[in-house]
Every structure is written in C-alpha cells, then in structure tokens.
C-alpha cells in the first residue's frame, strides 16, 4: 500500500521521467479542454432560471413577483430571466459575481430568508445591494438589451422621451435611478431615508 503511494508520488513529481514529452503535452491539452469545458458548463448551469428558482427562497417570492411584470410576458415574446439582469455577462465580472454568490450559499444553509417574513425583513437590504451594483456599473445589465443609442424617442410617450433626453442622454442619471421595482416589488423606501 505504502509502496503504491510512493510510486504514484514519484510519477507525479517527475512525470517526464516516466512518460514522453509528446504524451504529456497532448494529454495536458486534452485534460485542459475537458476541465475548462466542465467548468464553463457548471458555470452556465448555475446561470439558468431553473437553477435560480430551484430554491423556494427564490421561487416563492421574487420569481412570483417577476411573473406579473413586462420582463416576463410581453407582446414581442422576449423574456428576461434571472441571470440576464442579476449576473454580469462578461467573463471576469461574471466570475467575480459568482464568487460573491458564495454568501448566498451560506444564506441558504442557515435559512436567512427561508420564510416570507424573513425575506420581507431583508427586502430593503437585498434590494439596496442590487441598486448599488446597477448604479456602479451604469446599469450595464439593463443596457445589454436597452441601449440609449437604439432608442427611438419619437416612438416613446411624450413623458418618456422628455425624461430620457433630459436625464439619460446627458448621463445625469442611469436606468436604475428611475426604473427601480420594475421586476420585483419595492421595499418601503422611507426606511432607507430613516437609515441615512
């Protein structure tokens, strides 16, 4: 038993003594493809709506609220699912967000928002995190679909076109400043003022 471990260690420590350089190079290349592919597949699986609402914490609260909004059903049949808005699309930011999400695993294990009441108590805090994220990246996840360059202001209502040309085009405000609570119910914002 001990000799087997010793032999394994020797092979791992100096593989080129035991295997040809060509085999190691090719083998490493193939293994790399498999591991990288597997990693990305796992990343993509955790980036689906089914995965998100696999937990009752998401399915019974925020998902039910989303269902009533225009981002879920609309005339053109385009649907924004959870990761479209809540996970950055470019790779580095996505991985950074995924690492942050380890806190959500902790929350799941300890049942931080396991009941509607607990979720309601946390709603303001959780929403504030998302608003801060959108504010910091200039509403990037909104702009993945809604870019101001492709907006035809003449086809918007008077009110909308005025507000967009005044505040959005000037860069004074970003999407999330006005469009809070478009996909989920809003928390009591007076508590936010009280906390300041």
């Amino acid at each position: 038993m001990f000799s087997a471990i010793k032999r394994f260690w020797q092979v791992i420590r100096k593989p080129s003594v035991h295997y040809s350089l060509g085999f190691l190079t090719l083998g490493g290349f193939v293994a790399g493809i498999i591991f990288w592919g597997g990693f990305n597949t796992a990343l993509e699986v955790s980036n689906t709506e089914e995965f998100c609402i696999g937990c009752h914490e998401m399915e019974n609260t925020v998902y039910q609220e989303l269902k009533t909004t225009i981002h879920y059903t609309n005339r053109s049949g385009v649907r924004a699912t959870c990761p479209d808005c809540h996970v950055p699309h470019n790779w580095t930011s996505k991985v950074a967000r995924k690492i942050q999400a380890s806190k959500e695993v902790y929350g799941k294990i300890f049942g931080t928002i396991s009941t509607p009441e607990k979720f309601e108590d946390k709603r303001l805090e959780l929403a504030s995190h998302e608003w801060a994220r959108f504010k910091a990246n200039d509403s990037l996840e909104c702009r993945n679909c809604h870019s101001e360059e492709s907006m035809d202001f003449t086809r918007q209502s008077i009110r909308a076109s005025e507000q967009h040309s005044k505040y959005l085009v000037s860069g004074e405000k970003t999407c999330i400043d006005c469009h809070k609570g478009i996909a989920h119910k809003l928390p009591d914002l007076s508590l936010l003022k009280a906390a300041k």
Partner: protein
C-alpha cells in the same frame, strides 16, 4: 268561489312574472347582442390612453384622470409608485402635477406634513381611460351647457 280566486291569482301571477322575465331577457340580449344562453366572445382589451395630455374634468370636483399607463405601479403598505413623480419634492424633476393640497388634509381639515393615509391609494379616485367604445350612449350634459339652458346632449 275559492277555486275561482285561486285561478284568477295564478293568472295574474303568470302575466306579471312571465311578462317581467321576457322583458329581462330582451334587455340582456340587447346589451350583449346574443341569446341569453350563448356565451359571446369577450371584447378585445382596449388600449389605455397614454397621451400625457391633461383632460377636461366633467365637473369641478372630479378627480383628474390619469393620462398615462400605470401598468405595474405599486401602491401598497410599503410604497406608492405614483409619488415618485407626483409628490411635492419630485415635481421639479418630473414636471408632473403635484398632488392637490387637499391630499394633505385629514378628515378634520387639518393639514399634515405628508399625504394623509385616507388619500394614499391614488387609484381609489384617479383612473386611466381606455379607447373603448361605450356600449350605451351617454347622455351626460356638461354643467356649462346646463347653465346655457341646454339640457340634452
């Protein structure tokens, strides 16, 4: 004699109630344009007026109509979406009309610092309008026309 009375009573009942029910059936079929037992197709959902133009009030006390869509506007215990534009502090940026000062009054006529709870739920009085064609003709006469002596439309 007793039998005669009974026959007479049932005759009267048959005329009155029979007549009434046939009248009701006619009215309903007139409104629905279909037989009472058939289920007619639901009318298409009309578009909500989204012109952003203020509309004439039909009488001075009428709560102003909402000239824009309010789909998904949250008005509940936690929050009032309308107030993000129509509150006292928001109108400078939104250029929307501020809620009337009467909304700050409590039922004793005392002015409060913020919206009175009894005026919190906007859609209790303020409504959007749709482009739906009314199924019945409206004979409403504007008060100005009444003053001018015009009593019918």
């Amino acid at each position: 004699m007793k039998l005669l009375k009974l026959i007479l009573a049932s005759l009267i009942a048959a005329t009155v109630f029979g007549g009434a029910s046939s009248y009701a059936a006619e009215t309903i079929s007139e409104m629905r344009n279909a037989d009472i037992l058939t289920q007619d197709a639901a009318p298409r959902i009309s578009k909500v007026v989204n012109s952003d133009e203020r509309q004439v009030r039909n009488y001075p006390e009428q709560p102003p109509l909402i000239p824009h869509k309010i789909d998904g506007y949250q008005i509940d215990k936690r929050l009032n979406k309308c107030m993000t534009c129509h509150s006292r502090t928001a109108v400078e940026q939104s250029q929307a009309p501020m809620i009337s000062v009467t909304h700050f009054m409590n039922r004793e006529g005392q002015f409060l610092a913020s919206v009175s709870p009894r005026r919190f739920f906007c859609t209790q009085c303020h409504v959007t309008q749709t482009e739906a064609k009314p199924p019945m003709e409206n004979t409403f006469v504007d008060v100005d026309d009444v003053l001018d002596g015009k009593t019918d439309k």
